[in-house]
Symmetry: C2
Subunit: 317 residues, 2 copies
């Protein structure tokens, strides 16, 4: 059986027919209904990783083959495929398993396809109250929740979120839920308006009167953003580095020592609190959807997603 | 009255006669007996800071003028001169007071002189059991103890200390005191032998079989050291950035995000535990003394201190 999939051959992406994935032991085959395009997908196409295969790691879908208790259920899937036995896995940190593969990123075909193979251990059932359009945000929302796993946030903590892209908008909402004081700084009035509608204070970058705060989240993915974030973190404060910065320009690390700033790298996060927040309507994700394309038009979808200031582009499979 | 002092005019250092410092309110005048040359002094001479004045910030001496209860006492002095009233000072973090000046580094004459003015609040009496040669290490030893203020260390924590210079040798000893497992990595067999004599495991850099550890302390002050330190920190581990890195070469920050590493900048530290460790003989500092010069020969002393692999050079005032 063949399935339609967005295939990246290391040079360019194209929609092609591929053999359906085999059902390996411990795996399920999921038929995505919606899949989201992430900046990581765009970076892979630009050569950021050495990945060849089916792209995509944000999905909601239905289990088509696998254990009886999962068949037909609506699911989302964690993206790190861990060994389950190493020291990291035993600490429930399979996201850092040194031999892990990652759906659509490292060594595993991804979700921009009519069928994707995922470990049963990675599946999470989606509660009925969550729409597909919400559920497809579970993975990036979990990445935002990862920050709460790493640092203490709550009333009395002053936080600046730098960047009003897809991830920044989720992070600002998640941190605001803790009771911390959040200021979101960005370049796009329409993006920041999504946060204003949720009662979150925002400012456009040119109007930003930089006051150094306890916690600064860098979510611009640029070195300029990192430098701004360092300057905006108070002495002994914490800078959360939430997006990988692809370019390697000279960085001045001395201010980290002089002001004793902690830089906390932050990547994938826990799905359970993300699903709970979606079920409770605590985080608005629908306003982040900018466009939808059928899987057959996935190449155009990637092009749209790469346009400046673009929010979430979804694929309908 | 004139006093002899090592004066840096922004271009070069020379021993000159300077007017004796005035006794301002809240200050004492200390006559140093020994003063230590720090890499920061060398960096100032190389133009790292915009400081002009008397160099030096590591000293032990005797109070020559000031409040009656301090007169004649043997003292060491903290180096950050804080306002005492701002938010940071109220949190007992005067080391981060935004309007602070710093002895021999920012806006205040330093200790390479026959008299130095320091705030009475910065003085610590030196217990009788501590020799001058030990006491002059209080300031750099306090910088090593700062790490214990910032992160949890103890039995079961595996630590690598990168760099066997003056600071690395103090850091390895301080961390070993906590019961943590310490591996010190360096380039100098004779430096590492000081640690071996204290029961600390060491390895020469070319022989280092890099195993990723919970905590890595970067004490080489080089970007190469920083890059090695990132690679030697386990996922979710902590990299302590202990020395300012003067050169700004391109740095790849992506591994911090992928492995969720925390980078903790660390600078000046608390004097009390440093003095307690010296009194208890818990940290060996005498083997770190490489040379002594009279203050009159301070320029030669700086040259000696700048030689490769040089440990502590002291000035006798």
């Amino acid at each position: 059986m063949a399935v339609q999939a967005l295939w990246f051959d290391g040079q360019q992406a194209a929609v092609v027919d591929r053999p359906a994935p085999e059902l390996r032991a411990g795996f399920a085959l999921v038929r995505p209904s919606l899949a989201g395009i992430c900046n990581t997908d765009l970076e892979i196409i630009r050569g950021y990783q050495t990945f060849c295969g089916v792209l995509g790691h944000e999905l909601v879908g239905q289990v088509a083959r696998g254990p009886a208790q999962w068949l037909g259920r609506r699911v989302v899937s964690e993206i790190n495929f861990a060994c389950g036995t190493c020291e990291m896995c035993r600490k429930k940190l399979g996201r850092h398993c040194p031999t892990r593969s990652v759906m659509g990123i490292v060594g595993q075909d991804g979700a921009f396809a009519e069928l994707v193979a995922v470990p049963v251990a990675n599946l999470h059932a989606v509660p009925d109250g969550i729409s597909d359009e919400q559920a497809v945000f579970t993975e990036p929302l979990a990445a935002a929740f990862e920050i709460l796993e790493q640092i203490d946030l709550g009333p009395g903590v002053e936080v600046t979120v730098l960047g009003d892209g897809k991830l920044g908008l989720l992070i600002a909402q998640v941190i605001a839920q803790t009771g911390a004081t959040v200021l979101a700084v960005g370049r796009h009035e329409d993006h920041l308006a999504i946060l204003n509608d949720r009662g979150i204070t925002t400012t456009l970058l040119p109007d930003w009167d930089v006051a150094r705060r306890d916690v600064v989240v860098e979510a611009t993915g640029t070195l300029q953003g990192f430098t701004m974030a360092v300057a905006a973190t108070r002495p002994r404060g914490t800078l959360v580095l939430k997006s990988t910065i692809a370019d390697q320009a000279p960085v001045d690390l001395a201010p980290l020592v002089i002001d004793e700033i902690s830089v906390v790298g932050s990547r994938c996060g826990p799905f359970a609190p993300a699903l709970a927040a979606l079920a409770a309507g605590a985080v608005a994700v629908a306003p982040l959807v900018a466009a939808r394309f059928p899987l057959a038009d996935a190449v155009q979808a990637l092009e749209r997603a790469a346009e400046p200031a673009m929010l979430k582009v979804l694929l309908q499979v």
